[in-house]
């Protein structure tokens, strides 16, 4: 099996087929698999500074995805990685890790933050993310804020 290809684009540059496949994977994972009827499409995907990233198989099937948002903190841009999901068939290949590393590179030395599902704290720690506040509940799932300092 050839390794899925990493791709990235703003929503405006996606084909309908690519956008549908990315959103379908997110809904299948975050709404259906995690049994969480929340507003998966929060409107931030279409911000001009937002980049969607994904891995696709040779036949174009989207097998992992994430998005890179730009937040403003104290007047400074901060990267935010979120909506990281991998299709069940493609788990264990390190695709999500590749998306995270790509996100860190994308933000080019700026701080990067994410809202981690609490059981993934150690996982994100491997990429240099550190807890930046207490746990909180989001749509019934425990989360914590994590931050990777500039550099």
């Amino acid at each position: 099996m050839s390794r899925p290809q990493l791709r990235s684009a703003t929503v405006a540059d996606l084909t309908p087929t690519q956008l549908y496949a990315i959103l379908r994977l997110r809904i299948d994972v975050f709404v259906v698999e995690q049994d969480c009827p929340y507003p998966e499409l929060d409107g931030r995907d279409t911000e001009p500074s937002t980049v969607l990233v994904w891995h696709e198989d040779i036949d174009g099937t989207v097998v992992s995805t994430a998005r890179f948002l730009t937040d403003i903190e104290g007047g400074q841009p901060v990267g935010r990685i979120g909506r990281i999901a991998t299709a069940p068939v493609a788990r264990g290949l390190g695709l999500a890790a590749e998306l995270i590393r790509h996100g860190i590179a994308h933000f080019d030395g700026r701080p990067v933050v994410l809202g981690a599902q609490a059981h993934l704290e150690a996982y994100y720690g491997r990429f240099g993310f550190e807890r930046s506040g207490p746990n909180y509940d989001e749509d019934g799932i425990p989360h914590l804020p994590m931050r990777r300092p500039a550099g």
Binding site: V11, A12, D13, L14, T15, P16, T17, L19, Y20, L23, R24, I27, D28, V31, V32, Q34, D35, C36, P37, Y38, P39, E40, L41, G43, D45, T46
Partner: protein, 153 residues
């Protein structure tokens, strides 16, 4: 002289391949906000059917905002070739203006003279009966919500 500038929503009918990314995103967002969030049903809203060549997405828009949505597709029902309408949703702010009724009527016109079917949420049976839809068979549950098949023609 005063003017009333409430714009009449425009009804659009577009196949998947011709949707812009912004339109597609807005259509799916309204569907997820309505069927997943408002109706509290953690189900696979994107079933893959939206992309098929026979499917037409229809919606009302006004000032760049999508107010209502539905989709039309070919189907078979009890051996008959029929049209099917589904995923009918209206934003909370635009309810009560008859937009969904216009979508249902547009679908009936689109498929004429073929019969049209839909899987109605059961509490809407009288609503769809106004368009000539008749209940078919037993009620059933889908994602915790009672439904019934209805057919017109």
């Amino acid at each position: 002289m005063s003017t009333t500038s409430a714009r009449t929503p425009v009804l659009r009918q577009v196949r998947f391949a011709d949707l812009t990314p912004a339109e597609l995103y807005a259509l799916i967002k309204l569907r997820v906000d309505t069927f997943v969030v408002e109706q509290n049903a953690a189900y696979a809203e994107l079933d893959g059917r939206d992309q098929d060549a026979d499917v037409v997405h229809l919606w009302h828009e006004s000032g760049g905002e999508i107010l209502s949505v539905a989709r039309m597709m070919d189907d078979t029902f009890e051996g008959d070739a029929v049209g099917r309408i589904g995923r009918i949703a209206t934003t909370p702010a635009a309810r009560g203006q008859g937009l969904a009724a216009q979508l249902v009527q547009a679908a009936i016109d689109h498929f004429a003279p073929k019969p049209v079917v839909l899987a109605a949420q059961a509490h809407l049976d009288q609503y769809y009966a106004r368009f000539g839809f008749v209940e078919q068979g037993k009620r059933f549950e889908e994602h915790g919500i009672p439904h019934v098949w209805m057919r017109r023609g």
